[in-house]
């Protein structure tokens, strides 16, 4: 009996010290644990209600094999699938490579280049619908849209009707997508370049490295991981980016420039066939899932490196 209070007193500070030491960081308990769970719960609730449930519902909707036979027998779907691959392959890679190169240009310390950067970011800050509608309006007006007028004024050639041909229309959509999203990736690569220590470049200069060698042997290896992760994220986003197709060409001529996601809208709204629309969307999963897994792997590896 007499010993108990002494033991309690003696245990007090020890018991208090334990949670303060790294222990509370490795595995939580008590109020820390409950608070952490409370902090995560808003996002967890959102995720369960608006991601897990709809994904499950969608997988169930598109789980009938005959739907895919129906898709493959539709020439519009084949066309859209080819367009999707071309759209993503070109739009993502062109904007990534140009963004990487342009970020080097924007590293130059000139006042006018800083001012130019502010203007260059403008397309990214413009909302998608008005920006793409402006593209549509420039290109749909034949023969006197702004690009055609400029062609006439500068070179004296009469421009084409941009939405009259599949590939031309796809090219217009790709251009609009690059225009809108390249500034974001340029900013991110600019951030990455700023994080590269200047001494590495100084050392390269002492060794007599040329501009190309500085780029190829200093910048590229250090930005490789950032570049890969950005490319993967951009690819995933572009898969679900319907806006350039919907608003620039509108899928003209005759579904010729539609991608899978916008064709899905047609299946859903014009033909009132939601399961077929879901099946069209799910048909890109064989391409999309490896990209997501690769991204998860790269992010995990990046974390280990940090």
């Amino acid at each position: 009996m007499n010993g108990t209070p002494a033991v309690l007193v003696a245990r007090g500070p020890i018991a208090r010290r334990q949670p303060e030491a790294p222990v509370w960081r490795s595995h939580l308990h008590g109020s820390d644990l409950s608070w952490s769970i409370i902090f995560v719960s808003p996002y967890a609730a959102l995720f369960a209600a608006f991601i897990i449930y709809p994904i499950g519902y969608g997988l169930w909707m598109g789980s009938h094999p005959p739907l895919y036979g129906e898709l493959l027998s539709d020439p519009r779907y084949i066309r859209a699938a080819i367009n999707t691959v071309i759209f993503i392959g070109l739009a993502v890679n062109v904007q990534m490579i140009l963004a990487l190169l342009l970020s080097g240009f924007f590293m130059r310390r000139r006042r006018w280049i800083k001012a130019l950067l502010a203007i260059y970011i403008l397309p990214w800050t413009l909302p998608a619908v008005p920006a793409y509608l402006s593209f549509h309006w420039m290109l749909v007006a034949y023969p006197q849209g702004l690009p055609n007028n400029l062609l006439m004024a500068l070179f004296g050639i009469e421009g084409p009707f941009w939405f009259n041909h599949n590939w031309l229309a796809v090219a217009c959509n790709i251009t609009a997508n690059i225009w809108k999203w390249m500034p974001l990736w340029t900013l991110i690569f600019l951030g990455g370049r700023m994080a590269i220590p200047q001494d590495l470049y100084d050392a390269a200069d002492i060794d007599g490295a040329s501009l190309y060698q500085r780029f190829a042997y200093v910048t590229v290896p250090l930005l490789a991981n950032l570049y890969l992760i950005s490319t993967l994220i951009s690819t995933i986003w572009t898969f679900s980016d319907y806006a350039p197709v919907l608003f620039v060409s509108g899928g003209t001529p005759d579904f010729g420039s539609d991608v899978v996601s916008t064709l899905g809208f047609h299946y859903w709204l014009d033909y009132a066939n939601p399961p077929l629309a879901v099946a069209a969307g799910l048909s890109v999963l064989p391409l999309l899932i490896p990209i997501v897994i690769l991204l998860m792997y790269r992010l995990k590896k990046a974390e280990v490196q940090l």
Partner: protein
């Protein structure tokens, strides 16, 4: 001997100067190309908005021949039938954008704090789970989403759109916040703990203030996301009183006789809020994006 030395000595500076002039000329040229590339579609908006009819596409004009602010004035006075609801639509867009921004910052910062600072679970587990959001393209997910919203009874309710947009904006926000949080030494938290700070105090007094740049970047990103969206708004909202600007703009799309000058005037006004916020927060954005440069 001396004559032989002179040309060699002179050649170097001349060559360097020539190279410098060439570099400057190339970068000036590149700058001009970038300027044109960035501004042509924006310029086109003004060209159409400033035209008295908006049908100037059938003239070979590069400069506005008869510029007028009539379209903007008409929007202000609300005297044109097609665009009478414009301010209601603006109100709805701002309502949705504001809550998407706030809730993304809130949900993202809470989750990233619990995982990144409290180490509730390993970070890569959270990032992997959040990436599940992108496994099915959001343009496809809208279809089951529409059904699910019907089940929840949220159709034609702005909160359905807010929920959808917050859900899609938060994963990227968490990613950026987690990487930015690594720049803040964890020892700060330890020190505060020793001084007796609670978890909430850690979050409010240490995490939020130090994360301000990243939070600004993430909030702007969420606002841009809401402002860019069209299809979720179009599918989930139907009644006139819930129409947003993006939906209103789309109505002009198929109509060749539509008053395009009004449409472009609306487009310009609609573009202003995100641009203003972006440039106001640019200083923060830059450092937030650098950290969010997903370094690895």
């Amino acid at each position: 001997m001396i004559r032989a030395l002179f040309p060699a000595r002179l050649r170097r500076p001349v060559r360097y100067r020539l190279r410098r002039i060439l570099t400057e000329a190339t970068s000036a040229l590149l700058g001009a190309v970038i300027l044109a590339w960035s501004l042509v579609p924006v310029y086109n908006m003004f060209l159409v908005a400033l035209d008295p009819t908006g049908h100037n596409e059938f003239t070979w004009e590069i400069w506005p021949s008869d510029p007028t602010l009539a379209a903007f004035v008409a929007l202000w006075t609300g005297e044109v039938e097609d665009v009478r609801d414009i301010w209601l639509q603006f109100g709805n867009s701002i309502y949705i954008g504001f809550f998407v921004m706030m809730l993304t910052v809130l949900a993202g910062s809470l989750a990233s704090f619990a995982i990144g600072r409290m180490r509730l679970v390993k970070e890569w587990k959270l990032t992997s789970i959040t990436l599940l959001t992108y496994v099915i393209p959001s343009s496809t997910l809208i279809i089951p989403f529409h059904r699910v919203m019907h089940i929840y009874g949220l159709l034609d309710n702005p909160w359905a759109v807010i929920a959808a947009e917050v859900t899609f904006a938060t994963p990227y926000a968490i990613l950026v916040l987690l990487y930015y949080a690594k720049l803040i030494p964890i020892e700060l938290d330890d020190a505060a703990r020793i001084d007796g700070a609670s978890v909430i105090q850690l979050y409010l007094r240490i995490y939020l203030p130090l994360m301000a740049p990243a939070l600004a970047a993430v909030g702007t990103y969420a606002l841009l996301f809401a402002w860019n969206d069209y299809f979720y708004q179009y599918m989930l909202l139907s009644s006139e009183k819930n129409t947003t600007v993006a939906m209103g703009l789309e109505q002009f799309f198929d109509d060749d006789d539509a008053p395009w000058n009004y449409m472009m005037a609306i487009a310009i006004l609609y573009s202003l809020p995100p641009i203003a916020i972006f440039y106001a927060l640019r200083r923060y954005m830059a450092s937030g994006l650098i950290a969010g440069g997903i370094k690895g």
